[in-house]
C-alpha cells in the first residue's frame, strides 16, 4: 500500500479508512479458521465488535439467512455472551489485535445502555463505543434510531458516563435519517455510522410460509448500496461530526463513492462473507484509486473536493 491513507476519526488515529461493519467479521472465530494470519494481516484499521447486550442472548431460531438479488437477509438476533461474558472471554482476545477496538452495544432501555457504556467504557482495551440504536426502547415502545427525540435522550443518558468516543449506528428504516443524526450530534455523539440493514422478509419459495425463523430480518449487500449512498450524503450534509459510511461496499471504487459523498471512513460488511480478505483487497484498491486520482493523503479530503 503506497499511498498514505491514514486519518483521524473523531480522535481515533487510523491507518486507513476501511473498518468492518459490526457483526460481519468475527475476529475470534476467523482465527479458528485462518490462524494467526488474521491478526498479522488484519484487514481493518479498527475492529468493530458484534453488538453485545447486557444479558447473554442465544439468537433467533433458524433459518437465519436468505439470499436475495445482489444481497441477503439476515435474522441473526444478536447472539452474544452478554456484557460480563464479553469482558471476561472476548475482550482479552480482541485486545490482541493490533488495531483500535470499537465495541458495539445495544440495550432495551436507557439504563441498559448506561450499564453497557460504563462497563465497556471502563476498559483501557476499548477505544470507542458504537451505540446500535436499531432497537425498541421498552419505555416508549419506539425504535430509538427512528426517533430524533429518543436518540437525543439516549445520548444525554450515556454521554456523561464515558470519555471515550461514542459512535451512533443509524437505522435506514425511517423517513429522515439526517434528523436523527443531528439529534445524535446535539446529544454529544462523536461520530455516526450508517447504514444498518433495511427491514425485509422472505417466503419459502416452495411452502410460501415465512422463510426466516424470526419472521423477518434485515437486507444487506450491493442491492442496498444506492440507498446507503443517498443516506450517507444526506447525513454528511446535516452534521459536522464524521460519518462512517457502509452498505454494499465491495470494492475500492465503491469506497471512493462513499468518501466522495461525505463519509470520513467506510465499513465493509456482507462483502466479508464472500471473501474473508475482502477488506484487504478494498484497502489496496482504494490506495491505487487515490494515487491514480492524485488524491493520496487524507482521503477525507475527497469529500470536500467533490461532494455536493
Amino acid at each position: 500500500m503506497s499511498a498514505d491513507l491514514s486519518l483521524d476519526l473523531c480522535g481515533l488515529r487510523l491507518a486507513h479508512p476501511v473498518l468492518n461493519g459490526s457483526g460481519t467479521f468475527d475476529a475470534i472465530a476467523a482465527r479458528r479458521a485462518f490462524g494467526d494470519a488474521v491478526a498479522e494481516r488484519f484487514p481493518f484499521s479498527a475492529y468493530v465488535s458484534k453488538t453485545i447486550t447486557p444479558e447473554p442472548r442465544a439468537g433467533n431460531p433458524p433459518p437465519r439467512l436468505f439470499e436475495t438479488p445482489a444481497g441477503m437477509i439476515n435474522s441473526i438476533g444478536l447472539p452474544n455472551k452478554g456484557l460480563d461474558g464479553f469482558l471476561l472471554e472476548d475482550l482479552p482476545a480482541l485486545a490482541e489485535l493490533s488495531v483500535p477496538l470499537i465495541v458495539s452495544v445495544m440495550a432495551p432501555s436507557r439504563d441498559g445502555f448506561a450499564h453497557l457504556v460504563e462497563g465497556v467504557g471502563g476498559r483501557d482495551d476499548v477505544a470507542a463505543i458504537e451505540l446500535n440504536v436499531s432497537c425498541p426502547n421498552v419505555e416508549s415502545g419506539l425504535i430509538v434510531g427512528e426517533q430524533p427525540t429518543e436518540t437525543h435522550a439516549l445520548l444525554q443518558a450515556v454521554r456523561s458516563l464515558t470519555a471515550k468516543q461514542l459512535i451512533v449506528k443509524l437505522t435506514p428504516n425511517c423517513g429522515d435519517p439526517a434528523a436523527v443524526a443531528r439529534a445524535a450530534e446535539e446529544g454529544g455523539a462523536d461520530a455516526v455510522s450508517l447504514i444498518n440493514t433495511l427491514r425485509a422478509t422472505a417466503r419459502d419459495p416452495v411452502g410460501l410460509q415465512p422463510w426466516l425463523g424470526a419472521g423477518g430480518g434485515g437486507l444487506s449487500g450491493p442491492a442496498i448500496r444506492p440507498i446507503a449512498l443517498d443516506q450517507v450524503r444526506r447525513v454528511a450534509e446535516a452534521v459536522s461530526i464524521p460519518v462512517i459510511g457502509m452498505g454494499g461496499i465491495e470494492s475500492g471504487a465503491h469506497a471512493i463513492e462513499f468518501l466522495s459523498s461525505g463519509a470520513t471512513a467506510i465499513a465493509v460488511g456482507t462483502a466479508n462473507f464472500r471473501d474473508p480478505s475482502a477488506g484487504e483487497r478494498i484497502v489496496s484498491e482504494l490506495a491505487d484509486e487515490l494515487l491514480a486520482r492524485g488524491m493520496e493523503g487524507r482521503p477525507g479530503a475527497i469529500a470536500g473536493s467533490t461532494s455536493t
Partner: protein, 285 residues
C-alpha cells in the same frame, strides 16, 4: 469447543483451476487443482463460487459450502474433488464448470471427523454410513482410515438408480453394503436398517460411527446410536453465508441449549451434542 485436527485455511479466497468434471449417477464430480492450499482433513468443507457467479436475477450472490469428497497431493498442489447435486442457481453453475475454468474457493474450513480412538476409546473399527449426496466426505475418510489400518464397514443408502451415483468413483472399497429405497441394489429400504442390524452385533459398543446424508437419515442414525450408546459423529448441513464464523447464520440447536455455528463448531458434530438432526432450512430437501 474441543480441540480438533482441523487444518487451517489460507486467509483469502483463491482461484483453483478445474481439472475435470464428470457425471456420476445423478450428480457431478469435479476436480480442481489448489495450488496454494493445504491438504484438508476428512469432513472439512470449502466455500465455492465460479468466476461468473450471479445472474440477472442477482443470485447466486454468496459462495456455497461443499464437503471435500476426496483430496490428493499432486504435482503443482492439491487435487480437490467435489460431489455436486444441482438443486439451484449456485450448484447449477458449479456443476457446469468446464476443465480449465476457474473456481473461487476458501478453505479447508470447519471441524473434521475425529479418529476412532478419539471418538470411541478402544473402538475396534469404524462404521461409515452415507446417504445420497451425503456420501461425499466418506471417500476421503475411508482412504485415511484405511491407510491408518483401521478396520471399517461402509453402509450406503440411495433413493434409486438415478441417485446411486459416485459409489464406484468415491468409495473404492471391498466391503460396501447398499440399501436402496427402490430395491434396485442391495437391501430394499433404508441404510439405517443395515446399521441397526450391525449395531445389534456384539462388537457394536466398540464401534465408532461416522455418518453423513440427508437430515432424516442423520436423525435416524443419531437416535439409533443414542439408544445403543454407540459413539457417532454426523456431518451436517446448514445455510451458510461465510463459512468462517462471522455471519452466525449457520445456527444448529445444541442439546445443552442455545446454538452452535456449524461452520466453525462443525460441520462434523458428535451425535450427543445435538438433540435432533432435523433443523429448519438445513440440509438437502
Amino acid at each position: 469447543m474441543s480441540a480438533d485436527a482441523r487444518v487451517l485455511a489460507p486467509f483469502a479466497r483463491r482461484r483453483a483451476a478445474v481439472s475435470a468434471n464428470v457425471a456420476t449417477g445423478g450428480y457431478r464430480i469435479f476436480s480442481a487443482l489448489d495450488g496454494s492450499g493445504p491438504e484438508p482433513e476428512p469432513g472439512q468443507f470449502y466455500m465455492l463460487a465460479t468466476e461468473r457467479w450471479g445472474s440477472s436475477s442477482g443470485r447466486p450472490y454468496l459462495p456455497r459450502a461443499f464437503s471435500v469428497a476426496d483430496a490428493e497431493a499432486v504435482e503443482g498442489g492439491v487435487r480437490l474433488d467435489f460431489l455436486v447435486e444441482a438443486v439451484g442457481p449456485g450448484t447449477e453453475l458449479l456443476a457446469a464448470l468446464a476443465e480449465g475454468e476457474g473456481v473461487l474457493l476458501t478453505g479447508p474450513l470447519g471441524r473434521p471427523f475425529s479418529g476412532p480412538a478419539e471418538l470411541a476409546p478402544g473402538a475396534s473399527g469404524a462404521v461409515l454410513v452415507g446417504g445420497g449426496i451425503g456420501i461425499a466426505p466418506l471417500a476421503l475418510l475411508r482412504r485415511r482410515l484405511a491407510s491408518a489400518g483401521v478396520p471399517q464397514r461402509v453402509l450406503l443408502g440411495f433413493r434409486d438408480r438415478e441417485h446411486s451415483g459416485a459409489v464406484e468413483e468415491l468409495v473404492r472399497c471391498e466391503e460396501v453394503r447398499l440399501a436402496t429405497e427402490d430395491g434396485h441394489a442391495g437391501h430394499r429400504g433404508y441404510v439405517t436398517d443395515l446399521l441397526a442390524v450391525l449395531l445389534a452385533g456384539d462388537d457394536a459398543q466398540t464401534a465408532a460411527v461416522y455418518a453423513c446424508g440427508p437430515p432424516a437419515m442423520l436423525e435416524a442414525v443419531r437416535a439409533l446410536c443414542a439408544q445403543r450408546e454407540v459413539a457417532a459423529e454426523l456431518a451436517m448441513e446448514a445455510p451458510m453465508a461465510c463459512g468462517f464464523g462471522s455471519c452466525f447464520g449457520c445456527a444448529i440447536p445444541l442439546a445443552s441449549g442455545g446454538y452452535m455455528r456449524l461452520c466453525v463448531d462443525g460441520p462434523v458434530v458428535r451425535a450427543d451434542e445435538i438433540s435432533t438432526a432435523l433443523v429448519e432450512g438445513s440440509g438437502h430437501r
